[in-house]
Amino acid sequence: MVNIEIDEDACVGCGSCVEDCPNDVYEMDETKNKTKVVKVEDCMACLSCHEICPAQAMEHQDIHVAKRLYIDRKVNYELDRII
């Protein structure tokens, strides 16, 4: 089962994830003005929320991570060497 961790220090309370999630996994916590997870069982790990979150405040644990064959291994190798 998916587990979603929200970094409350990072969350800016913009509500983008709440609007973007097709399965209403998130809701705004009006008192804290932060997002909160309310329906984790409906999360399909599409990770649209990761893409839209300006603060990268969420982490999905124990999900199927799709292959990324578009990653250029040679470029990555060179980047690793530089960094």
């Binding site: 097709p22 399965n23 329906k39 069982e41 409906d42 399909m44 790990a45 599409c46 990770l47 649209s48 990761h50 893409e51 999900i63 199927h64 991570v65 799709a66 292959k67 990324r68 064959l69 578009y70 250029d72 291994r73 040679k74």
Partner: protein, 182 residues
């Protein structure tokens, strides 16, 4: 970059093993193909507008029909989906999906059966991200056509797919089949 030339003897009845290439060769070829597919998709859209979707859909449908010819014919949707999953393989890895409040994966509506499919690994998505193109464009209609073609071939009924949601890690699609339709 230095290009290594392969030299050897070539007889008509055999293909030298060394021409098969290594992982780097496959990676290079994959990236070139991704770029090619991406620019072809945007060029198609530029030239034929929404007609691009129909062209790619038709190409996918042909692929679906061709692939499904190898599968056992069945009128069991679950079995058909399992077989299609095997043929599509890891590059189009999908699973049935349902919201937590729903009891079964399939829902019946008159003579229609609806099932939601979660596509997790998808070469089309990777191609679009490689070339910086948005999802839900003409290339996504390849899978649409593929599933419809395969369903039509295996179950001998009419099917359609709607894209519910697209994401960087998974896409949710709804497959609707009509029992009476052909």
């Amino acid at each position: 970059m230095e290009i290594e030339e392969i030299r050897g003897t070539f007889k008509p009845e055999l293909i030298p093993k060394e021409t098969g290439g290594d992982l780097d060769d496959y990676e290079d070829a994959l990236h070139v193909l991704m770029k090619f597919m991406g620019s072809m998709s945007s060029a198609l859209e530029q030239v034929s507008g929404r007609g691009a979707n129909a062209i790619v859909y038709q190409a996918g449908k042909r692929m679906g029909h061709e692939s499904a010819k190898m599968m056992d014919k069945t009128d069991n949707l679950e079995k058909a989906l399992d077989e299609m999953g095997d043929v599509l393989g890891h590059e189009f890895y999908f699973e049935k999906w349902k919201p937590s409040g729903q009891d079964s994966y399939t829902t019946q509506d008159g003579d229609q059966v609806v099932v939601k499919l979660l596509f997790m690994d998808c070469v089309v998505r990777q191609t679009l991200r490689r070339t910086g193109l948005p999802q839900k464009g003409p290339l996504c209609y390849l899978l649409y056509g593929y599933m419809v073609g395969a369903v039509e071939e295996v179950m001998d009924i009419k099917g359609k797919i709607d894209i519910d949601h697209v994401g960087p890690n998974a896409c949710l699609k709804t497959l609707t089949i009509t029992w009476s339709g052909k």
